[in-house]
């Protein structure tokens, strides 16, 4: 028995799908490579200072061969400039969940190779998102600090106002019983000085590490004092005089080694309950085939089970109520031995589908089974028949169920995710534990053509009311403008640039991403932490 795939691997369709998807993946990798290449240009300069580059720091920090899940790799894409060819994503940060001395950590590395690590418009959003995730998943936090601070030329008052949350989160993080470590590789001034200030453990690198509320220039402007930066905030001073630095490192690599030492000595997993080990079968259908299974155009239908069969253990799943509301697919399966409930879409949500989904979500809640939402949804069905059938109330039940169910929720945008369908399928605003998009995903209130068509109908009705001939030229121009406005914003790269997901992934990595996220959620929930009222004070 088991799932019978209808995919023909040597078909033209498969080849076209695969070529299309690989082109998008290449585009994604090229975007990710942009900040890396730009930062790499500073290698010589940094090495001349006795430093190592931010990405080398990350490589030193991580346990060899342990998994790493990058977050917000495209943050800021098309925010710095409208030109997708010139935009540099990454928001001057390298963010991810990885392992440091066997401890699963939230890691943020300031990309000091780009404008000396100065924060850009989306840096705050990405940083906050990572901190929220660390708090939610009970993850210790490691920050490799070297930042010129905010770029004063790009100052906006709301950046400063919202920026305070970074430090509030650090205080909450410490109070939540979650250790955080900062390595001071370079300057961290003004507000940035509170990065080490609020860290539980600070490693200061000799010569380059520096933290001060104001650097020499600002001190001179403010008080007239002629000071130098090393006396104001050098690691050596902090290690001996101010007490801001616990561990003094010879150089960058040594500092990272010390941070690894801090993590190692936590014995962080000492009370983590053992997970019953199960024999895990890989999928019978190769995850690699996802690229050929899924058309990048969401208007071309396909069976979402073809995707699930390439994600779950042994390609084995159980269809829940397959004959009732069949366009809404509810499946019970396992990933890395972890039982999951999977919701997918083979068409719009109708009353039966919404009801089935709501019941399925509640059943998963009852059994504490994590939920995975594979979004390929153009919306809830419209029309007299559906309105009379109670589409609103059935949709509302589904939104209630998604909102209230207290299990790990992981959302993937694998195709369309439009309108209230996005809400029902646990979109960004429903605060899933993890939310990733495939590069072909299209997200928004509705599709561009749909929006343009709607506006055209409204305009034609207006002309008709006024009894004048429609201006076809104006209508066409309006249609083109609206379509372009919507289409630009629906691409996965664009939405990821706005940090309304956690990143874009290679669809072929889906099983591993889901496995990583599920393990992170389970580990975070199984962990007993010792919260305190105020966090650990620095003395």
């Amino acid at each position: 028995m088991g799932f019978v795939s209808q995919v023909v691997r040597d078909s033209e369709t498969y080849a076209k799908n695969r070529a299309d998807m690989l082109a998008l993946i290449d585009e994604m990798r090229a975007l990710e490579a942009r900040p890396a290449a730009l930062s790499e240009q500073r290698r010589e300069r940094m090495e001349a200072r006795g430093q190592i580059t931010p990405r080398d720091r990350l490589a030193h920090l991580l346990d060899p061969g342990m998994p790493f899940l990058q977050l917000h790799g495209l943050a800021g894409f098309c925010v710095d400039t409208d030109d997708p060819q010139k935009s540099v994503p990454g928001a001057s940060l390298i963010i991810g969940i990885g392992f440091v001395s066997g401890v699963r950590c939230m890691i943020i590395v300031d990309d000091a190779g780009i404008k000396a690590g100065a924060l850009v418009e989306m840096s705050g959003a990405a940083f906050l998102s990572a901190q929220d995730m660390a708090l939610k998943q009970n993850l210790p936090f490691v920050h490799l600090v070297e930042s010129a601070g905010a770029n004063l030329m790009e100052y906006k008052v709301e950046f400063w106002a919202n920026g305070g949350k970074l430090f509030r989160n650090l205080a909450r993080h410490s109070a939540a019983g979650l250790p955080n470590v900062a390595v001071l590789h370079g300057p961290s001034t003004a507000g940035g000085a509170y990065m080490p200030g609020l860290a539980d453990y600070v490693v200061g690198v000799k010569q380059n590490g520096m933290a001060a509320l104001a650097g020499a220039a600002l001190v001179h402007a403010a008080t007239g004092e002629k000071a130098n930066d090393r006396d104001l905030g050098g690691s050596e001073m902090h290690a001996t005089t101010s007490g801001l630095v616990e561990y003094l490192a010879e150089d960058d690599a040594h500092g990272i080694e010390m941070a690894r030492g801090v993590m190692a000595r936590l014995d962080w997993n000492k009370s983590l309950p053992n997970r019953r080990s199960k024999e895990v079968q890989p999928p019978k259908f190769d995850p690699e085939e996802i690229a050929g299974v899924v058309p990048i155009d969401y208007r071309i239908p396909y069976d979402v089970r073809e995707v699930v069969a390439r994600i779950v253990d042994g390609s084995d799943f159980e269809d829940f109520k397959p004959g009732y509301g069949p366009a809404t697919v509810c499946l019970q399966a396992a990933i890395n031995g972890i039982a999951v409930g999977i919701l997918g879409n083979n068409g719009p949500l109708d009353p039966a589908g919404a009801n089935k989904a709501s019941q399925f979500i509640q059943l998963c809640g009852q059994a504490d089974t994590p939920l995975i939402f594979l979004n390929n949804i153009t919306g809830f069905m419209v029309g007299t028949q559906y309105e009379q059938g109670g589409m609103i109330k059935h949709g509302a039940k589904m939104i209630q169920a998604v909102t209230s169910v207290d299990v790990p929720k992981i959302t993937l945008y694998i195709g369309a995710s439009f309108g209230a369908g996005n809400y029902g399928m646990c979109g960004y605003a429903y605060d899933p534990d993890f939310l990733f998009a495939w590069p072909n995903a299209a997200t928004g209130v509705m599709g561009g053509e749909q929006a343009a068509g709607t506006m055209e109908m409204v305009a034609r009705a207006g002309f008709q009311r006024k009894g004048i001939e429609p201006d076809e030229g104006k209508l066409a121009a309006q249609k083109a403008a609206i379509t372009a406005h919507f289409n630009k914003q629906e691409s996965a790269f664009y939405t990821s640039g706005r940090c309304i997901d956690h990143g874009v992934i290679d669809p072929r990595d889906t099983r591993r991403v889901l496995g990583f996220c599920l393990e992170t959620c389970l580990e975070g929930r199984a962990r007993s932490v010792k919260p305190s009222s105020y966090g650990v004070h620095r003395f």
Binding site: R55, D56, L62, M66, F68, G102, V103, N336
Partner: protein
């Protein structure tokens, strides 16, 4: 005098080997041991073990009274001395007999006669045994020795009259170097044997070292068990021994055997003994000396004759007649033995100490490994650093040789440096393959000493991949919920991590990146894709750039020891921040090995030039010169004459100028 309990007054492989035979014969066995040997194999093997002292041999294995007391305490009726230590000590043999115990070996008189080289030679000349022209007079003055040397003709050998095993032995090429050699040999002889008496001998260089195994009982039966060829020697220490001698004819064997039997009869010999000769290409042979004990290399004789020499020794000691006659001695095939030492051939054969982290003897057909080590044991500075003997037998010499090379490759010691590569290299030398080796073979084969191994990128890549694999396993073991499926995966591109490895003094930069199925390592312009198809309990099968490599590995966090073929490679990974202490050490003179400091020339405040002699350290029979590593001023001398040093002790500090 019959006995049922045997005490073995030795350690290491020979103690283990004797214990095994004794136990097989149904005897109760007693071992003696020191604090340094508490974890040693012979202690574990014996039925009972008696502690006889701390590490130094003078208080333990050379202390006859303690050993006799141990025998009496445990009810042992006989003492087997093995080789070395008290095996050729006439005084000890006498004391053993006086205590009413059986000494397994000849009587004290025979030991004494053969133990004094001068006496032995006079005796042999009298018995018609051909001897090397030389001087063994009582007049030990420099004048007498110089005159005698001139009469014999150079080159000449200066030897300790009481010696053996290369101690106090010097080859002198011309008259100019004679006095210094006499002084050095005398000093070594005094230290080693308590007697500075020397003999001189014409140096015979292009000859083979051929020795005859003899056996005698108390009833007048004396036989020989054929010869062993021990020409492959380094500083008069045997490296490879084989039987039969590749050049031997049955006529010559009969002739040499008869002479050996004569030699034994001349001292009324009893038990196992070896008569050593130099055999010239012409067929002429000269008596060298007689070893009145079981030899290290006795297994090659055992393997071709099928006899157990220790069993024969015990039988004779029990008062039985030899169970075999000369006619019973058959020669079957060929056997070759190598001695696996804890020493560094490419660093002047410096003795090494350290832990035996891994010990895996070969176990292939035709192979015998006599070992005194076990995993976890320390190679102690107090004793001879021989770890094991590896012996291979085959129907032909070539098969025995091939089997032996394979066996050396498969016998893995990790933790301390060994001479395994040297052994396989020697076994593969043309002259040895042809069976042409004479006693000068090794000097001719390696005129510049044994070259250090040039480590390859592949070795480094394998070592790094093994360390990373272990890092990964350690991280996974301490991590929470991580499925194997996740290993080596990253959702976005990571940069390779960089690492600095050292191999000896060489630093190697490498970069590495994990893949779900293994590791990619870059070293300079080379890329190595490494996948481990197995990597458990030190057994490694790696696929490196589509080629399979088998290795044995022992890893600690930053040290990878790997055995590939006969190579035993140690790589260290430098940890950031850990190097500062090491780099400052260039003017610090560190004891290169454990030993006794017999001279300190350095004085604080003195100017020294690089290469100046600072001290003399005596270790493992050799006097090692400790010289200045840099030009500068001596700022501190931390040691004094007569001090026993351990490897790594800081001796002298020089401030570089």
């Amino acid at each position: 005098m019959a006995f049922n309990t045997l005490l073995v007054a030795n350690r290491g492989e020979i103690a283990a080997r004797i214990l095994r035979t004794a136990q097989a014969l149904g005897l109760r066995t007693v071992a003696v041991y020191t604090t340094a040997d508490a974890g040693a194999l012979h202690v574990a093997l014996a039925d009972e073990a008696v502690w006889i002292g701390e590490g130094p041999v003078g208080d333990s294995y050379l202390n006859g009274d303690r050993i006799i007391a141990a025998a009496q305490k445990t009810g042992a009726g006989a003492i087997h001395p093995g080789y070395g230590f008290l095996s050729e000590n006439a005084e000890f043999a006498k004391k053993v007999e006086a205590a009413g115990l059986t000494f397994i070996g000849p009587d004290a008189q025979a030991i004494r006669l053969m133990g004094d080289k001068a006496d032995a030679k006079r005796l042999m000349v009298g018995a018609g045994v051909p001897c090397v022209p030389g001087y063994e007079g009582d007049d030990q003055s420099e004048t007498a020795l110089t005159e005698a040397a001139a009469k014999i003709g150079f080159p000449i050998m200066v030897k300790a009259a009481a010696g053996g095993g290369g101690r106090g032995m010097r080859l002198v090429q011309d008259a100019g170097a004679l006095l210094e050699a006499i002084a050095q040999a005398r000093s070594e002889a005094e230290n080693a044997f308590g007697s500075g008496a020397l003999i001189l001998e014409k140096a015979i260089t292009e000859a083979r070292h051929v020795e005859l195994q003899v056996f005698a009982d108390n009833r007048g039966n004396v036989i020989h068990l054929g010869e062993r060829d021990c020409s492959v020697q380094r500083r008069h220490q045997k490296v490879i021994e084989e039987a039969p001698c590749p050049e031997m004819t049955s006529e010559l064997r009969a002739k040499m055997g008869a002479v050996a039997i004569d030699a034994a009869r001349a001292v009324n010999y009893r038990g196992a003994g070896t008569v050593e000769f130099l055999l010239e290409p012409s067929g002429a042979f000269y008596f060298l000396e007689m070893n009145t004990r079981l030899q290290v290399e006795h297994p090659v004789t055992e393997m071709i004759t099928g006899l157990d020499l220790v069993a024969l020794q015990i039988a004779v000691a029990q008062g039985e007649a030899l169970p075999i006659t000369q006619e019973d001695i058959a020669q079957n095939g060929h056997a070759i033995e190598v001695r696996l030492y804890a020493e560094d051939p490419s660093n002047g054969y410096l003795p090494a100490t350290g832990p035996v982290d891994v010990w895996r003897p070969a176990a292939s057909p035709g192979v015998r490994v006599d070992a005194g080590v076990q995993p976890g044991q320390e190679v102690s500075p107090f004793y001879d650093p021989m770890l094991a003997k590896i012996i291979a037998h085959g129907p032909t010499r070539e098969i025995a040789r091939a089997r032996l090379i394979k066996a050396v490759n498969e016998t893995v010691v990790l933790g301390t440096v060994t001479n395994s590569v040297f052994l396989t290299d020697v076994l593969g030398q043309d002259a040895f393959v042809r069976g042409d080796a004479t006693i000068t073979f090794l000097d001719q084969a390696y005129p510049e000493g044994f070259p250090a191994y040039q480590v390859t990128g592949r070795d480094v890549a394998l070592a790094l991949a093994l360390m990373l694999d272990a890092d990964q396993a350690r991280a996974k073991a301490s991590a929470g919920y991580v499925s194997s499926d996740q290993l080596g995966w990253s959702s976005a591109a990571l940069l390779p991590s960089s690492a600095t490895l050292t191999y000896g003094e060489t630093e190697i930069q490498a970069r590495a990146l994990a893949r779900p199925d293994g590791w990619t390592v870059w070293i300079e312009d080379d890329t190595f894709d490494i996948t481990f198809s197995s990597n458990a309990n030190g057994n490694v099968r790696a696929c490196i750039n589509n080629q399979t490599v088998d290795a044995v590995a022992h890893l600690t966090r930053d040290v990878a020891q790997i055995a590939v073929g006969a190579e035993r490679l140690t790589f260290r990974r430098l940890r950031p921040g850990a190097q500062d202490e090491e780099t400052a050490a260039s003017g610090r003179i560190i004891a290169p090995m454990p030993g006794l400091l017999i001279e300190v020339a350095a004085e604080p405040g003195h100017n020294v030039a690089k290469g100046d002699r600072l001290a003399v350290l005596e270790a493992m029979k050799m006097q090692h010169q400790i010289t200045a590593t840099v030009n500068g001023v001596i700022t501190a001398v931390h040691v004094k004459e007569g001090q026993q040093l351990i490897s790594g002790d800081v001796m002298i500090e020089i401030e570089e100028t």
